[in-house]
Symmetry: C3
Subunit: 136 residues, 3 copies
Amino acid sequence: MQTEITIRTQGAGLYEFTDQVRTWLQPVSEGLLTLFVRHTSCSLLIQENADPEVQTDLRAYFDRLVPPSDHPSMSYLRHTYEGPDDMPAHIKAAMMPVSLTIPVTQGEPALGTWQGIYLFEHRSAAHSRKVAAHFA
Amino acid sequence: MQTEITIRTQGAGLYEFTDQVRTWLQPVSEGLLTLFVRHTSCSLLIQENADPEVQTDLRAYFDRLVPPSDHPSMSYLRHTYEGPDDMPAHIKAAMMPVSLTIPVTQGEPALGTWQGIYLFEHRSAAHSRKVAAHFA
Amino acid sequence: MQTEITIRTQGAGLYEFTDQVRTWLQPVSEGLLTLFVRHTSCSLLIQENADPEVQTDLRAYFDRLVPPSDHPSMSYLRHTYEGPDDMPAHIKAAMMPVSLTIPVTQGEPALGTWQGIYLFEHRSAAHSRKVAAHFA
C-alpha cells in the first residue's frame, strides 16, 4: 500500500502531519510504515508535540549550528547561487532523517505518548513537499 | 512479528542491546528488522563495540556540540523548565536516529564485524526506555 | 531479495551509487528498498546530484564541525590511536544515516528529481565499503 502525502510549507520550521498519516493507515492492522521525503532541503522528524517551544528551540538551535551562507563563518561555501538559505538546507537535510520507519499495531503507529511526525522545512520560501508513504 | 524491548538507563551514555535483539530474532530466517525508539530524548545508534573509548568520546563530543540549556551559549532556548539536560536531549534526538532498519539473513542481522546496536540516553536521570521491534 | 553492494572509496567524500541500486532493482515492481552500511566510519546519504559543489560543501561543513582529533579543540578525545581521522569518522557516522528505506514503484525508487544515493566516506585512506541491500 503506497501513497504520496503533500505538505505545504510557508517558511522554515516544523509542520506536524501525524493526523494525515493516521488517517491513511486507518483500515490496516499490523505492519511497517515507511515515510520518505523526496527533497534534499527539508527533513522528516519525530519530535515532542506537547510544548510548541520545543519546535521553536529546535529551529533556533539548527539555525545557529548551520548559519546562512552569507554569514562570515560560512564564507568557504561555494553552492550559494540559490540563496543564502539553500546550502544550509542541504546540510541540515544531511543531519536529520530523510526516511522514517515505524511499526504499526492494530492500525496505530508505535509512537510514544509525546511523539509527533513532522516535516522540518529548511527553506525560507513557500514549498509543496512530497512524502512517499509505504505500508506493508 | 513484533515486540517491545525495554532498556533501563542510569544517566547519559550508550547502552548496548545487540544481544537482546539477537535473542529475539533467533528462530527467524530472512527478512528486515526495524527498531523504533518511542521517546524524544534518547536515540538509537549503530556504533563500534570494540573500544569502549569510542562511546565515551561520542558522548563527550555531543555534550560539547549541544551544551546544557543553562550554559551561556544556549541562553536563547525557551523550553527549560524540565531541567538543563532536557532541551539538549531533544536536539540530540533530532540529530541521531529514532529508527533503524537492518536486513537479516539466517537469523543474523547484517551488522559489520565491529557494529553494535545501542540506545544513546541523553537525559541525566534514570529512565525506562521502550524500543518497538518489528521483523518481517 | 538481498544482496551486498561494494563501494571502493579513495579518501573522504561522497560516492554516488544510485545506478548500482537501480540496476539491482530492475526486475522488481512494488515494495520497499532498505540499504544498510556495515561500517561505523562512513554514512549513507540522500543528497542533491545536480550541482557537484553541494557535495564539496557538505564535506567542507562536516570537516569543520568535527575537526581531526589532533586539532586543539578536540584534545579531550581518547580514541586517537587509529589516526586523527578515525574518531571524527565515528562521530560523523553517528550524525548521518547508517540505514535508508525507500519505497519502490514499478522498479523505480521514489527518489525526487534531484536526489541521488551516496556513500559518504569519512576516512582518508582507501576502503572497500559494504552496503547490505534488501528488497521486499
